[in-house]
Amino acid sequence: MADSGQFTGDGESSATTSVSEGTAKSNISRRGFLRGAGITAASTALIDGVQLLHREAAAETIKGNAHVRELGPGPVPVTLNVNGTEHVVQIEPRTTLADALRTHLGMTGTKVVCDHGACSGCTVTLDKVPVNSCMTLAIEVGSRRIGTIEGIAQNGQLHPLQVAFVKHDAMQCGFCTPGMVMSCSALLERNPKPTLADVKKAVSGNLCRCATYPKVFAATLEAAGVAPEKSIS
């Protein structure tokens, strides 16, 4: 991944990539997934690599040398490590990570806006890399640590980035705000001293219809201890 994490494009505000394409850690064989989808309709996912699966739910098949197991379409138990706590959820394999978090774990801080990977409203982190949770199947997360907006504040204390968001009023309706905070906190994790251009790039996929962008930039730069600069002098 580029230093922007989920944003691999260089010019336009790029749509974000789903985990299965963007990282090497995915446990789903993309080819197998597609083939499986073709055979058994969209509600079934074919998975190779087994460490994330509970054996009882899986029917095993052998395809060549690969160890391939078929899941679903009914609910299967999946373990998710969210903000450092393990949760087992019974979900259909087609369940997105966003849906698993919101509907099955009741963690509604993560918002679904477009459900298409176009707005980054649903941004969470997997091992600190921001991803669109609407474009990520919960079962493909595996053992990676999921970070959500609920985990940014610690012991009831807002994270300095959140404090800066409050101070700069980097929100209006607030619907994009969890995604903005996630993208910006991931930026600060990988680049503690970003420039304005870095911040713009980090949130280039995060849409805000209230158009609170200038204050998001200011807040993130302040949280990083970087003096505000002019975008164009």
Partner: protein, 806 residues
Amino acid sequence: MATHLDTALDPLVQAAAAAAPAKPEKHTVMMPIGVPGYTLRTEAREVPVSEPPVLAVNSELEFIGKPTERWDAHYKVSGQAKYTADIQLPGMLYGRFLNASVPHAKVLSVDVSAAEKYPGVKSVLVIERVLGNAELRDPKLETPSRYPIVRYAGQPIAAVAATSAHIADEAVKLIMVTYEEMPFVTDQLSARKTDSPQVYPGAADQAGSAGGGGGPHGVPQTGNVHGPSINKKGGDIEQGFKDADVIVEGRYVTQVQTHSALETHGVVADWKPGMLTVWASTQGTGSVREEFAQYFKLPKTQVRVITEYMGGGFGAKFGAGNPGVVAAQLSQKAGAPVRLMLDRKEEHLSVGNRPDADQIIRIGAKKDGTLTAIQLESFGTAGCGTGAGCAGPATNMYKYAALHTAENDVFTNGGPAAAFRAPGHPQGAFALEQAIDELAIKLAIEPLDLRDRIDENSVRRVERQVVRESALWKSRNPVAGADSGPVKRGVGMAQSVWYRFISMNSSAEVLVHRDGSLEVRSAVQDLGTGIKTVLAQILAEEYGVPPAKIAVRIGDTNYPVGPDSGGSVTTASLTPAVRDAAWQAKKKFLAEIAPAYGTTADDLQIVKGEVRSKSGKMQPVSFQRAAGKMKVDSVSAQARRIPDYDRSKYETYGGVSVVEVNVDTETGRILIPRVLAVHDCGRPMNPTQVISQINGGTIQGISYTLYEQRHLDPNTGLMVNPNLEQYKIAGSRDIPELQVHLVESYIGQSSTDASGIGEAAGIVAVGAAIGNAFFNATGYRMRRMPMVPSEVLAALGKVPQGGLKA
């Protein structure tokens, strides 16, 4: 200025007048009037004796007018804020619409049997009355049918509620609809032709909403053309043009924009015997309750609407709407709560948009700039609704000898429009303010100077002075197209106009508790504008307690009625009621504790968070300690909005937007490096939030002008970009360096003298300012939106004109 207000919102004004109570006893007070540093003075006002003392200017106050942290910011940045989309109730079902796949058809049958049998489906509904579309004046022109006529692709036809969203998705796909398709038309120019397919077989009208919108009723209709709606002011228009030394004329074309709030429309409806509880993403809890009560013939006591947080509306979210009434019916049938949130595609198709516009504007002027005539003819499509009029700016911005406007709605097979941030005004200002710029060039008068001659508004005069002194304006080369390279820089300005609308449905209760805690309650909702914070600041000012310590309970119809938030009414309408309630509760509180201190209420006051005796009968004690002396657990007062003090002194609101552009004349790309936004909104209650809104309106204006466009395919009638990847809205890389200058202005109208900012904030003027900057950069006029590269190159004469063809 008050004499010619935009008619689209007149019902609010009428409602205000009708609701005025009997004449109370009055006395004369002196109030601050004008702009500090420029025109500040005092003027006498007759106000009811029951009103609180006159509020000083912001510089003399402790909490009001001071940059204040958003009251609910903590909840928003931490993901704790619960929006309608986040509500999960025990046993809640998930609702889903089946929408029309064709743009114009009679529905012959709807077979829901397979959906009903599908495991997990709990209720299925076939919609018999669809809300939002215009309705025929004579319904007999269409053969009665159980199923509403489909007027646009995406119109809801049926719905299911199921135990999971996946099941609901699958179940709606099992519903079989047979259509008898009819000819359709999706673009405004084709729809105006006499041989065009007809969206309605006769004249039709659309109801407005609390946010405005809806077109004029009873106007003539020929084919799809609903209008003209004619307005004449001043003298004879022909004479006006005869008197002119100079005439400018131009045709301006703008596109359909969708609201695209990040939270889609939707509700959670929980129908229980005796009580329908609805969580709604709405701009008006009151409007939602009203429509539910009407639709289901329920007493209002049996409808409760809750909106604790909502993810943006911009004018499109009023009333129950189709999602509301359908969710309630599904809930009633299933005996369980139902959440029905639209998906992104539905949000683009069926719940509102800003109509397009095709305007011809003609302005005549004397050599000294005096306007002798303004003539505007406009056509716009609000889809299968109305409300595309855009004559507001031409009518209300400048003084002129004669005005003639003719507005036409054009029906097309598209989703009905809805009020959208300053309805009609971005379109209207795009034409008017570019025409005025053209006039300035023809007359060789500097654009700010010309406006000084023709604009009577005293606050915009100050705003132009601020612009004149700004580095950005000083950097402007008055010679258009002076840069020699391929990338040309320009600076342009344009003005916005909006109005003072007051909703008398504005009341609040303030409670003082014995533990010294304070609470304000109102049914009003916070769209993200920050009204919660403002209410906290008002109590803070009266009691000397920091705003963060005030409990703000809003967004629930169990509280005193609040205004629907449309047309920038909320702050102007509600804050005086809240201050009045805070003041009255304070008087009750002081009377309650006075005996414990051996004095009377008149002798006590609260200063800087302390209760003090004017006569020195007691040592100052903290408000909290004094509250401990209360004999009852709490005292409270409720107040409602009283009419403005003196409506004869009304002026419009507005602002001046200044934009710098870099136009790449080879690629056709427009970059906007810098914007200066100078705005007024009466007394700014919380400058932090006002600036947030001005940033938002300005960037929305840039987004509208450069990128956004709803594309309907003329061959299929389907929207080809009903998403957020191809419907492009401004993102982080499109954001200029944006400087906001707030002009504080006092008008002496209420106990807070506050006004709203939502509409006037940027979006009205930015398009024209970009157009004027484009001319300054290139010497060519950009009369079309969105200003995508192909249109830019066409305006520069480098490629043939695309888009709408005449």
